[in-house]
């Protein structure tokens, strides 16, 4: 059966150990985690965890059930297959030699991202968007020279009816 990416959005009790229960479930049962993001929600005591995993259909069903079974997990939603907005943030530190600066700024402009730090020989660029956008800008900047990157992993919410 085909393995596909699935975006899962969880509401969990904001308690010590919850993240380790979730991570332990994935590692203990051999499930895959592509990315995982956690932060508080507007409601006190509740956090949202967004997990991107790769699995075939029966396995993702099992993953959702196993997550639901954790006592501290309040709700599990699968976003994949529904309309949802999906964003991640990427910080890219590129080598910015004088002869490349104009080109880098042009790319920044096209992708509507920002230069957030300027060093003697580097620019740090902040990009938000979906995975496709990340891949595109990375492939354009690579030939110029990327020193390092940091990525948040995906966060996502359902779209509301128009």
């Amino acid at each position: 059966m085909k393995e596909e990416k699935h975006v899962l959005s969880l509401l969990v009790d904001n308690e010590p150990g919850v993240l380790s229960r979730i991570a332990g479930l994935f590692s203990g049962r051999g499930y895959n985690i592509e990315s995982l993001c956690v932060a508080e929600t507007m409601e006190a005591g509740v956090s949202r965890v967004t997990i991107v995993t790769k699995a075939n259909e029966p396995l993702v069903e099992q993953i959702k059930k196993q997550l639901n079974k954790l006592v501290n997990v309040i709700k599990v939603h699968e976003l994949t297959g529904n309309a949802f907005v999906n964003r991640e943030m990427l910080l890219i530190k590129v080598f910015a030699k004088p002869e490349h600066r104009a080109e880098i700024l042009r790319i920044v402009d096209i992708f509507r991202c920002k230069v957030v730090d300027v060093g003697k020989e580097h620019y740090t660029i902040e990009v938000t968007g979906d995975e496709g956008k990340m891949a595109a800008i990375l492939s354009l900047l690579k030939p110029i020279g990327i020193k390092e990157i940091a990525r948040t992993g995906a966060i996502a919410l359902f779209r509301e009816p128009k």
Binding site: G17, G24, Q62, Q66, V71, I74
Partner: protein, 562 residues
């Protein structure tokens, strides 16, 4: 009024109806032990913390209650892990209290500090570290609630020393409700209707029941259901006793050492109604060939058990007992036609399998056959003993030759298969049921894993009986070596062994020995009815094997027979 944490713990335990705790003290729990001694709660002092957990497990199963343990931090806590894992895999409701270093020392590698919450996260249903005395009452209440509700399981509560000796205002917490934990008890009525439709269509249905039926107290409903639909019944190891062993519809146990007819039925049936099971690999053998002609109905309170190992036609999430009650009501409202007639060819086929290939062994007049001991134990105890087992051949012969009539009479480490389980579990069962005959069917290897608990039994006047099938081997491993490793008996011979009769006497118990077949019944009669703890050392055939046997990973219908 202000109460210390230790006192609050006692108040909540009393409120939960706890009358017995299995435990072992130490520095981190000394305040709790000080309070415990001032209550009416009986403390059974074990001799190793693993024994405390298995005892609580046996207590929970024999008494249908939550079992409780109390141990100290560090080594006391780590010694509980095996017992907790066994209870987890068998879904047994226990609450384990562990001491912990004071909160301000946590994380400093303090003396006898271990992160027991971290260690037991994957083998508990849930666990807690109590950070403040104010939270203690609520957390303990939640621990009991979680342990016993839904699919039951072990819950660990870690108690830092300062939390227990600080005083705070206390009011008994009310009913527990957790918004992130809501087991589904009521099965979906539409799904159950579909189950009835399948039952009407089926020519060769079978029922496969497991420990979930016993945990939900649904044995009576299961029996009624099976008789209504005239379907033969098998159970997993954990389900033994959920259906009466004397009923003509009883097939015997399924699985690696299941009966010929039970395993063949799985290959031939066109409908398998499975209830409170989890399709362990010891049951299914090779999964792609398991019940390959059948539609499978799977009823279980834990949705993760459904479609985990085998594909299912109709999933039903809910409590086994309520599902069976609903099904029985639906069946009463349905015209099933002449079921007896319709089922005749199928049931006749099963009778034939049973008669051509029954469970079998040959008792000669020289050495005692282990199966013979269990058969005679069944007769002498009139089938009414609560049986615990160790792990290995002894466990399988107990399952095959003691014909369980009722639930909660067979207590075994099914999922973990944990040697050393039987003796402490028997002690727990005896504590829950003081007037009953409790027998540990043991192997010589396993018994030595928690032999120290004999003292516990003697000290607390819990006169459990050990029926030791002493074959001088780690028999089950030896059997695999015989069958699959050309009889290379690597490290399985136990020819250096203690004299178990003298050992029993040294512990202040009674030791008896049987060396010849004619000794078996007299030794049983003397041992089983003694008011003391007794070890009966049956010197059995050394190289006897358990049959039928399905080699690991083979289709369950391909059995090696005697």
């Amino acid at each position: 009024m202000k109460l210390t944490g230790a006192k609050i713990l006692m108040e909540v335990l009393k409120d939960e109806g706890v009358d017995t705790i299995f435990g072992f003290p130490g520095g981190a729990v000394i305040d709790i032990y000080d309070e415990l001694a001032r209550t009416d709660i009986r403390h059974v002092l074990v001799r190793h913390e693993q024994g405390a957990v298995h005892a609580a497990d046996g207590y929970a199963r024999a008494g249908s209650r939550v079992g409780v343990c109390l141990v100290t931090s560090g080594p006391g806590a780590t010694n509980t892990v095996t017992g907790i894992a066994s209870a987890y895999l068998d879904s047994i409701p226990i609450v384990v209290f562990t001491g912990q270093v004071p909160t301000q020392l946590i994380g400093n590698d303090a003396f006898q500090e271990v992160d027991i919450v971290g260690i037991t996260r994957p083998c508990t249903k849930h666990n807690f570290l109590v950070q403040r005395t104010e939270d203690l009452g609520r957390v303990v209440k939640e621990a009991f609630f979680i342990a016993r509700s839904g699919r039951p399981g072990p819950v660990l509560v870690d108690l830092p020393k300062n939390v227990m000796n600080t005083a705070t205002d206390f009011k008994m917490p009310g009913e527990v409700s957790l918004r992130s934990y809501n087991p589904t008890y009521n099965p979906n009525a539409k799904q159950l209707k579909r189950v009835v439709d399948l039952i009407i269509e089926a020519d060769r249905p079978m029922i496969f029941a497991g420990g979930g039926v016993i945990l939900s107290k649904g044995s009576k409903e299961l029996t009624e259901f099976a008789r209504k639909i005239q379907a033969p019944v098998t159970t997993s190891l954990m389900g033994l006793g959920a259906f009466p062993g004397s009923d003509p519809l009883w097939l015997g146990m399924i699985g690696m050492h299941g009966t010929y007819q039970a395993n063949l039925c799985t290959g031939q049936c066109d409908l398998m109604v499975s209830i409170g099971v989890r399709f362990d690999d010891r049951v299914t053998g090779k999964t792609d060939t398991f019940a390959s002609q059948a539609k499978i109905v799977h009823i279980d309170i834990d949705p993760t058990s459904i479609r985990k190992n085998v594909p299912v036609t109709i999933p039903v999430v809910g409590d086994c007992k309520s599902a069976l009650e609903h099904l029985n009501t639906l069946l009463d409202e349905t015209d099933l036609g002449n079921l007896k007639k319709k089922r005749k060819p199928w049931l006749d086929q099963i009778v034939e399998w049973k008669s051509t290939t029954p469970l079998d062994y040959k008792q000669d007049d020289q050495t005692i056959k282990p199966q013979y001991v269990v058969e005679k134990l069944f007769e002498v105890s009139k089938g009414e003993a609560i049986i615990t087992t160790e792990v290995g051949q002894n466990q399988m012969w107990a399952a095959q030759y003691y014909h369980f009539e009722k639930p909660n009479h067979f207590i075994t480490s099914g999922g973990l298969g944990c040697m050393g389980f039987g003796l402490p579990a028997a002690i727990g069962a005896q504590a829950a049921c003081p007037d009953r005959l409790v027998v540990d069917i043991a192997g010589d290897g396993s018994l030595q894993m928690n032999i120290q608990e004999m003292t516990t039994a003697v000290q607390h006047g819990l006169p459990v009986k050990v029926v030791l099938l002493n074959n001088g081997y780690l028999g089950m491993v030896r059997q695999w070596q015989e069958l699959f490793y050309d009889r290379r008996y690597s490290s399985t011979c136990l020819d250096c062994a203690p004299d178990f009769v003298k050992l029993a006497e040294a512990y202040g118990a009674v030791g008896l020995r049987a060396e010849r077949p004619e000794d078996v019944v007299p030794v049983l009669k003397e041992g089983l009815f003694s008011p003391h703890m007794v070890i009966m050392d049956f010197r059995v055939t050394k190289e006897e094997s358990v049959y039928p046997m399905v080699p690991a990973g083979a289709p369950i219908t391909e059995m090696l027979l005697v």
